[in-house]
Symmetry: C2
DNA sequence: AACCATGATGTTAGCGCTCACAAAGGGGCG
DNA sequence: CGCCCCTTTGTGAGCGCTAACATCATGGTT
C-alpha cells in the first residue's frame, strides 16, 4: 500500500513556484493584478503537484460553504425525482454543492432531523421538493436561518417558490374532455394535503363549472397505481361516467387496468387522462393522453431563486410554468347516447 | 430584517459556561473524563446559545470531511433511483454526509467533472451506481485517491462492489418459463455495455442450455419502454415465440403493448416476464410476472463496505443478494401445439 | 525633479476547531 | 507522610486558507 503522502497544500505550490502562498491564492481565485508569467509558473506548479484547494479551509475563512440542501421525499416517482435531478444539476452548474436528504417518511421528527443535518453541514439555502403541506410547515417553523425555496409545492401564499401551474394543467385536461363532448368527467385526485393535488382538483372543478357542468364528487387517490386501480373499480360501477381525469399517470395506469378488467374499453367507452407524461405513458394500452411539465425548468428556476436569495436580493414571485397537453389515444368522444 | 448576529462559536459557549473552549469541545465530542456537573453546564450553555459546531473548521483540523460522493446516472428509472435513495439513507444513518452527482450523460468529460467536483468537496469515498462499464472504467482511471464502491455494476472482477445476483435472476425467470413448458423463449436484453444486462443475458443463455434448449439470438434494448415496444413488434413477426424475458419491467411494458397491438394475447399466446418489480408492475395488463430485488439491502451493504474501506480494512468480497421471482398473470403454459 | 497613482507581490492575522501537552487536585498505598 | 497515578481541566499551536494591509518598483504627471 503506497504510504499516504500528505496532499499538497498552497504552501507547497508557493514553494515550487517560488512565490508567496498569497500569490497562489490569487491565481487560484483568479484575482486581478497577477503578471502572466507568475500566473503561468503557479499554474504549472499546481499542475505538477496535483494541488486542489481545501474546501473546508476555504469555507472556514470565507464563512460560506457553497452547500445547498435539498429535502425531498424518498419516493421514486417520476415527477419528484425529475425535479430533484434538475435541481441538483442546476445547483452544481451554478457552482454550489447540492446535498440531498430523502425522507422515507414525512414525520415531524424525520424533517427536524433532516433540517438539523443540513444546518450542521452549513447549507446556505434549502430547496424543498415536498409538495406536502405539513412538511413545508415544519421546515418553515424550524427557523433554519437560511432561505428556503419550495419547488412544486404550495406556492400561493409564499413568494419563494417555483412550479408548474397545476390549476392550468387541470383546466386544459378538462377542457379537452369537454371539447370532445364529455359531460360526466370524474376526477381521481392525489392526496389532498398535497398542494399540487388540490390545485388539480380545483382546476378541474372550475373548468367543469365554466362549462356549465356539475362536477361529481372526486375520488381521492394517493398517487399510486394501486389507488388508481381501486378508483377504477368504483368507476366500473358507474355507467354514466365517460371520462376520467387522473391526477397523475400512475393513477391513470391503474385506472386503465381496472377499466379493462370490467370490460369498459378506453377510449371507446371511457376516456382517461393523466398528468406528468412519464416515459411509459406512450406505451400503455392505449397510449395515454397526459400533461407534460417542464421539470428541468422548475429545477433551473429554483436555483435561480436560491442564488438571488443567497445574494440578499428580495424574492420576487416567479411566474408559474405553463404545462402542455399531450393528446394520445386514451381520449375520444363519448359513446353515443343510449 | 433581523441584523445577522454572528453564529455562536465554541468560545461563546465556553464563556457562558465558565469553562475553557477545550472543555466544550470535549463535551461536544463526548470525550471521557468530564465531570457530570461540567457537562451539564456546557450542555446548558449550548442549548441557550443554539450553538452548533462548525463542520468546516472541524473537517479542516481533523482532515476528514465525512462526505461520501455518490455518482449516478440522471435516469429516473426505478432501479437506480431506489438504490441511490437507500445508499443516501444508509450513508446518513452511518453519520456520513452523502452528496450525489447525477450525470445527464455518461461521457468521459462529464464523469471527470463529477469526480473533480467530488474531490474538491473532499469526499472520503465514492459510491458509483452506474452499472455502465465505461463509466466505471473512467472513474477508476481517475485515481481518486479514495475508495470507490460499486453498487449494482460489474462486480465480478473487483471486490469492492455490492449487488444482486442478476445471473440468478435470469435463471429463475428462464426456469419458470421452461417449467411452464415454453421452448421458444426470447430475451430482450438491456444495453450490453451494462454489466447487469450482460449478467441477465448470460443467465438466460445458461438456463436455456441447461434445459437442452437452443437460445435464439436475443434482441438488444436500452431499458426503455420504447425499445420494448420495438422488440415486441419484431416478435409479432415470429409466431413460434411463446415467451419473452424482458431485461426490465419498462421493456416488458412496451412489449405488452406491442403484443396487444398485433393481437397476440398475454399470457394466452405469449408469456412475458420483466425484472425489477416496479410499483406499476402489478397493475399492467396483464399483471406482470417479474423479479423483485432488495434495493434497500444493496444500499446498506454499499455503505457497510464504504465504512470498512474508509477504516482501512481490506475489502472482502460481499456475497451477491438473491432476487425473488414474483409470479403474476403474464405467464402461463404455452398454447397447444398447432 | 519631486510626486503619486498603479500594478505586482509579500506579510500578518485569524476563521473555529481539535490535538498534544501541561497543570492542578485528590486518593490509595507503603 | 510522601509518592505516584489518575481524573479533570486548561493552554498553546496550528490545520489551510483568504482578507487586509504593507511594500516596492514603475511610470506618467505637474
Amino acid at each position: 500500500m503506497s504510504q499516504t503522502v500528505r496532499a499538497p497544500v498552497m504552501a507547497d505550490v508557493a514553494r515550487l513556484a517560488g512565490v508567496s502562498h498569497q500569490t497562489v491564492s490569487r491565481v487560484v481565485n483568479d484575482a486581478a493584478h497577477i503578471s502572466p508569467e507568475t500566473r503561468e509558473k503557479v499554474l504549472d506548479a499546481i499542475e505538477r503537484l496535483g494541488y486542489r484547494p481545501n474546501t473546508s479551509a476555504r469555507a472556514l475563512v470565507r464563512g460560506r460553504t457553497g452547500i445547498i440542501g435539498v429535502i425531498a421525499t424518498a419516493s421514486v416517482e417520476f415527477g419528484p425525482v425529475s425535479i430533484q435531478r434538475t435541481v441538483e444539476q442546476a445547483a452544481a452548474a451554478a457552482g454550489f454543492f447540492p446535498t440531498s436528504v430523502n425522507l422515507p417518511e414525512l414525520s415531524t421528527a424525520a424533517l427536524e432531523q433532516a433540517v438539523d443535518h443540513l444546518r450542521t453541514l452549513g447549507v446556505e439555502a434549502v430547496v424543498m421538493i415536498a409538495g406536502h403541506d405539513e412538511a413545508l410547515g415544519i421546515v418553515r417553523a424550524q427557523r433554519t436561518g437560511v432561505p428556503v425555496v419550495v419547488a412544486q409545492g404550495d406556492l400561493g401564499r409564499d413568494s419563494s417558490g417555483v412550479g408548474v401551474d397545476q390549476w392550468a394543467a387541470a383546466r386544459a385536461v378538462t377542457e379537452h374532455l369537454v371539447g370532445l363532448g364529455h359531460r360526466e368527467i370524474v376526477h381521481v385526485s392525489g392526496p389532498l394535503d398535497w398542494a399540487e393535488a388540490r390545485a388539480r382538483l380545483e382546476g378541474w372543478r372550475q373548468a367543469m363549472f365554466d362549462a356549465g357542468l356539475r362536477p361529481a364528487s372526486p375520488i381521492t387517490g394517493d398517487w399510486s397505481s394501486e389507488s388508481g386501480f381501486r378508483a377504477g373499480l368504483q368507476i366500473c360501477q358507474r355507467p354514466e361516467v365517460t371520462a376520467v381525469f387522473a391526477a397523475n399517470d400512475q393513477i391513470a395506469l391503474g385506472l386503465l387496468r381496472a377499466l379493462y378488467e370490467c370490460g369498459r374499453t378506453v377510449p371507446g367507452d371511457v376516456s382517461v387522462v393523466g398528468v406528468d407524461d412519464i416515459p411509459e405513458a406512450a406505451y400503455l394500452i392505449p397510449p395515454l393522453t397526459t400533461v407534460r411539465q417542464d421539470f428541468a425548468a422548475v429545477g433551473r428556476r429554483a436555483i435561480d431563486l436560491v442564488q438571488r436569495l443567497v445574494a440578499g436580493e428580495p424574492a420576487e414571485p416567479v411566474p408559474l410554468l405553463v404545462p402542455e397537453l399531450v393528446v394520445r389515444s386514451s381520449t375520444a368522444p363519448p359513446p353515443p347516447l343510449r
